[in-house]
Symmetry: C2
Subunit: 303 residues, 2 copies
């Protein structure tokens, strides 16, 4: 079958906002299923390794997944003084969990993924990320993240909202009720980091989301990273603290060096630099950001 | 004609390295010509304003050209103590010249563009960038940049190599003979900033180019910016000093505030952050970089 596929001029693509298409050359298709929630596909591409698509949108490529996963996990884990318990909402591919587990202080990670088909597809075809889900410190719960945070009595030092776009199954993960519950289950100095879309293409979505977080969290910052396979290249995370923890002022670069972890994208310099937002983004989000700029929570990169 | 075009499902696209395509929805085509050097097209897109293509590769979009042009121009101009004379090689669209002219100390800008068709297409259809070429401080020379730097007796405080990829007419702009000449025409503390491709897709090209610069310049750094319409999102510039000027240690953020210029991407924080390279890129280029990391020329963002 793969030999025949190669004779096709086979491309998989994503159309964004009716104005932009990104297409990747495909060697062969590996997995395709309609789950209860969405369509899931895994393909092997010519230039980007294996790629996961949810409802036809690129979720990750083996070529650059390390960027997203290092940036969602290590930025908060090098700010939190001693995180032990982490909750990952979404992220059924396992990449975020893999990076969290590189911190030896982590005792327990709960992955709450609504769609069993994502976990199954990645366990079968993308072990680069999914192998982490077999670690004994990890519990994989196949349930709705919104329902879990509403019912649980557990508390967590860190919540990572590793979600798709705010349409389809992930839409409630951008809502106020969800973050009321997240706030409640965080420890006193706990932090929540969330996938926050593209500043170029989705700045108004970012502004609305940031305003919603600001009503619930004492400290709020936005940081950026680059994504090879998402439209626009530049994408953002929010960093929200229940207490006073600041992602720049409370960050000690020496901890990164002392960790001995061999990163591919993240470094102490990258950590601080990620909070230096483009002016158009900083200007739009300024009413709500309390960290990563001047003031009591000051970024060393923004004198 | 434009009404009929709209009934077509019209897209313009670029294929990169046989593995990736990026396509933009087109409202209408505005210009198309075969010059002596390459094919030039201007199209009006649905989501990215007007776009310029050279040999079918996206050169700029009105939507995000400010990022590239602010970053190539303002990073060196806020490091140089008092730049007066600037040489732009390539950049016939005029966007780089436009940003240079925002600095009131600039007395003379020479734009050396090999292809008259680029200048003509942009003057006619992309005044957002090309209008700057009418400024009385600007001289537009339609000639080969390699030949110009070899023959000129003029000296410049800053050279900006605003080139396309190292294939086709721009190939010699990535060569050692060209940079021998650039070094010679720089003032003693002069700086040359060059378009340096994508760290994700062209890291070996970057490494070879950086090695070539290092043989000729006392200080060398690489900084990154994001590009909506180039493959991979993250792209780089090199910063090379003939003298000892360091783009981070010799940068005074107060000059940016004092300038009163209303930037859309650039800021003092963005300036410093741009030199914090992803680990995979920093590791590969480290043998040749002398600035933007520890040492006598130290980045405040990399303690």
């Amino acid at each position: 079958m793969s030999a025949e596929d190669r004779t096709l001029d086979l491309w998989v693509g994503e159309q964004f906002q009716d104005t932009l298409q990104m297409r990747f050359r495909v060697r062969r298709t590996l997995y395709g299923a309609e789950s209860e929630f969405q369509r899931i596909d895994v393909v092997e591409t010519e230039g980007h390794g294996r790629m996961l698509f949810n409802d036809g949108k690129a979720m990750l490529s083996e070529r650059d997944e390390f960027v997203y996963h290092e940036m969602i996990a290590h930025v908060p884990l090098f700010v939190l003084p001693a995180a032990r318990r982490v909750l990952v909402i979404g992220g059924g591919d396992g990449g975020t969990v893999r990076e969290v587990l590189r911190h030896p202080g982590i005792e327990y990670v709960r992955l709450v993924e609504i769609d069993a088909a994502v976990v199954e597809a990645c366990r079968r075809h993308i072990p680069l990320t999914a192998a982490a889900l077999d670690d004994p410190r990890v519990e994989v719960a196949l349930e709705d993240g919104v329902a879990y945070v509403a019912r649980t009595k557990e508390r967590y030092d860190l919540v990572l909202v590793d979600s798709t776009d705010p349409i389809g199954p992930a839409a409630p993960l951008f809502g106020g009720m969800f973050y009321d519950d997240v706030r409640r289950l965080l420890t006193d100095d706990g932090v929540v980091v969330s996938q926050a879309e593209s500043p170029f293409y989705e700045l108004e979505t970012q502004a609305a989301f940031v305003a919603l977080l600001r009503e619930r969290f004492a400290r709020l910052a936005v940081y950026n990273y680059t994504n090879l396979t998402y439209p626009g290249g530049l994408w953002s995370f929010t960093f929200a603290s229940r207490g006073e923890l600041c992602p720049t002022a409370d960050f000690d670069p020496r901890r990164v060096a002392a960790s001995g972890i061999d990163f591919r994208y993240y470094s102490a310099a990258v950590h601080l630099a990620a909070f230096a937002l483009p002016r158009f983004q900083e200007r739009r989000l300024a009413p709500w950001l309390t960290a990563g700029k001047e003031g009591p929570c000051k970024s060393p990169a923004a004198p």
